[in-house]
Amino acid sequence: MDQRLLPLLPQVSKPARYTNNEINAVHKEWDHIQVKIAFAFPDIYEVGMGHLGYKILYSIVNGRDDSLAERVYAPWVDLEAKMRELKIPLTTLESGRELKEFDLVGFTLQYELSYSNILNMLDLSGIPLLSRDRTDQHPFIMAGGPCAFNVEPLADFLDFVVLGDGEEIIHEIVELAKEGRVKGLSREEQLASFGKLPGVYVPSYYKAHYNANGTFHKLEPVKQGAPEIVYKRVVADLDKAEFPEKFVVPYIDVVHDRVMVEVFRGCTRGCRFCQAGMIYRPVRERKLTTLKKQIRTLVEATGYDEISLTSLSSGDYTCIEPLISDVIEEYKDLGVAVSLPSLRLDSFSPALAEEIQRSRKTGLTFAPEAGTQRLRDVINKNVSEDDLYEVVKGAFQAGWYSVKLYFMIGLPTETEEDLDGIVELAQNVLEIGRKHGTGARRPEVTISVSSFVPKPHTPFQWEGQDSMETLRAKQNYLRDRLRQRGMRFTYPRVEESFLEAVFAKGDRRLGPVLARAVELGCRFDGWSDHFQYQLWMKAFADCNVDPHWYANRAVALDETLSWEHLSPGVSRRFLLQERDAALGGRTTPDCRFDVCSGCNVCPQLKVANCLSEEGARV
């Protein structure tokens, strides 16, 4: 760490965030390394440390002899104030060096509300915010992650962006950086070399044009050879992909503080609101034996007492039951528990419930997403109420007392009936808990209701978000009806969902707004108590941009979309077809277990769904 921070630490909250030296942190001889990358997470340590993608990249880069990776997180506001006062720049945890000293700084784009932190971290590092102002003296600012699929609001600030899986392309980037150094390439030449990699998008190679009515016209390549469409990278065989053998083990409490293995990547259930379900296709499972080996290695290297089987929907893993029972069996005497972070109710059998229960009792969460079967058909959430009740009953009987239900309001075609459906569902679950609960504790149902945010590359990308007034009215409607014993109702502020929608569907004209907002003091927008809606509105006004135009306007089907050049491989035709099906209330089956629904990812990217059971049979 940077020794200049030491005297400040007794005066700030959670000083151990900044002190480094965790078990398995990698410290390399700076002078012996050719390519140096700082991986920057635009949120605090406790959030960033829980992120699996970040761990994967850290371990790959540090696994090479010629490159090193160090970590940097956003300092909390108390330390930031002191750093600014004393003019101490942002530094990495491992060597305590300034970001300027690295060859590349990689930001992860996890959620729109972290964008202000990216700019703020650049500013704290003394690196020019605008890509065009950077020179040979500065590192390349790269980024990747789900928000890369509409990175346009950040186009002015990023030198290049990686779409899709990072395991392979990170090696290619390191190689090119090394080569560029040997050849003494200029910044421009070096950028051009990165730009030639499949999956890399260089925003400055394009110019955006708009129509007189404000709608998007087109993105024109202004650099020779810049592709019209950048397709994402995809690791075809996840089972063979690199995975960390060690995790940095934090001292302080962080999110997802446990062994994590990724049982599969991608999800083809096809929920129509879900961006992850579109951009990570196809499904690629790891083999049972691979996962068990990874778990064993990681438990030994970290000493964690919890193992988490992660993915977009781990209950769908074809070998989930043997995996869980084997792992529980192996660790039962060592006090190590197993958890599944995302349970889909129709893939959660009572047998599975029993297995996890043997291990440790954690809260159970289900995501019916909508209150009626009609609306669930619209969003292609293929679960029935009876399934849910069956599973919940099993869970209560197995000793759980607390169940959390996730819903969304503001979905396309939603009516009052759908809101009533949420209330009814919650009541029925609670009723089941009262009837079948075994525990000494009273059953509890938490109803968590978020506001629908239309996302690029989904069948709902053309939708406008409900106005904030409408969303608030719907929240109040639910709150009045969910004020019951044994129920807890939680919902994020509509302003946050609104801003998320603005940036999710935003274009390059939002760049100046973002810079202005940061200048006004916006940061940590994802933290409710730091989110400054009024300042944001001032930033929009100062830049003469109407945020409602982005969030609430339904985009006409014949408009060009400002993110269509950033492709996860899913075709526009498929999204339109799914949109039609949604409005007609027709469901589409999961191509992993049924026929191909024609999203075009597999032929486009020359990949295929890859299930472990199949792999085992071959």
Partner: protein, 231 residues
């Protein structure tokens, strides 16, 4: 046959910002990395059988923290020390370990005093000496303490047992103090600084001993069990 090991460990500069909970978590993980056969409590959510002396405030280093670990089988103290030290992070180190005789009282119930070394840079040593003199003759030293229930007045004077004459080493001045620690009276290290007129943010504070004070004499948690046959 004892399956409990009592050990003394050091918490250094690198890890001084860890809270007590962070420290426990870190030790638990080290036990697992070292595959030490720790015993677990019975019941719904089994916990490793580890108990500690007095919690150390965030920011303070220590030469003398204590813990008792119960194992499922007998482990030789030396073997424990070697294994455990090999898996502990820089900044934590076991410096002594013994087998705890059965039925020994717990660390928590016994430890009631602590010794701290306070080291300050470029202080006015003469001022400090007179400050100590007046503290020693004072009957009371009342401060406000923030608690969960609000602000409360406490007299710190009876909690301070001994202050050694300051020692000057170069530009540094070091003072050793003994004071009350634990549930029946606790003098916090930052309060100790305030009593001595030292800056709690910049003074380097090291806990140098945890003690059992009885009838005016002090013993450390090992003295108490020596003489018993550790079998």
């Amino acid at each position: 046959m004892s399956r409990v090991i009592r050990f003394q460990f050091r918490k250094g500069q690198e890890l001084r910002f860890l809270s007590h909970l962070d420290l426990i978590r870190t030790l638990e993980r080290a036990v697992r990395r070292g595959r030490l056969p720790i015993a677990f409590s019975e019941g719904f959510s089994p916990r490793p059988k580890m108990s500690f002396g007095s919690a150390l405030a965030v920011g303070i280093m220590s030469e003398a923290e204590y813990a008792d670990f119960e194992f499922t089988e007998r482990i030789e103290p030396n073997e424990f020390m070697t294994t455990f030290n090999s898996v502990l992070p820089t900044g934590l180190e076991v410096i002594k370990a013994v087998l705890l005789p059965p039925k020994s009282p717990s660390l928590m119930t016994e430890i009631n005093a602590a010794e701290y070394k306070l080291v300050a840079h470029d202080t006015d040593a003469a001022g400090l000496v007179s400050r100590i003199k007046s503290l020693q003759t004072a009957d009371s030293f009342v401060v406000e303490r923030k608690t969960k229930k609000g602000i409360r007045l406490v007299d710190l004077r009876p909690l301070l047992y001994e202050v050694e004459h300051p020692q000057e080493i170069g530009s540094e001045t070091a003072i050793r103090c003994r004071c009350a620690v634990g549930s029946s009276g606790n003098l916090r290290p930052n309060e100790l600084c305030i009593m001595l007129g030292m800056d709690p943010f910049t003074t380097k504070i090291v806990r140098t001993a945890l003690l059992i004070k009885e009838d005016g004499s002090y013993q450390d948690p090992f003295d108490r069990i020596e003489g018993h046959n550790a079998t």
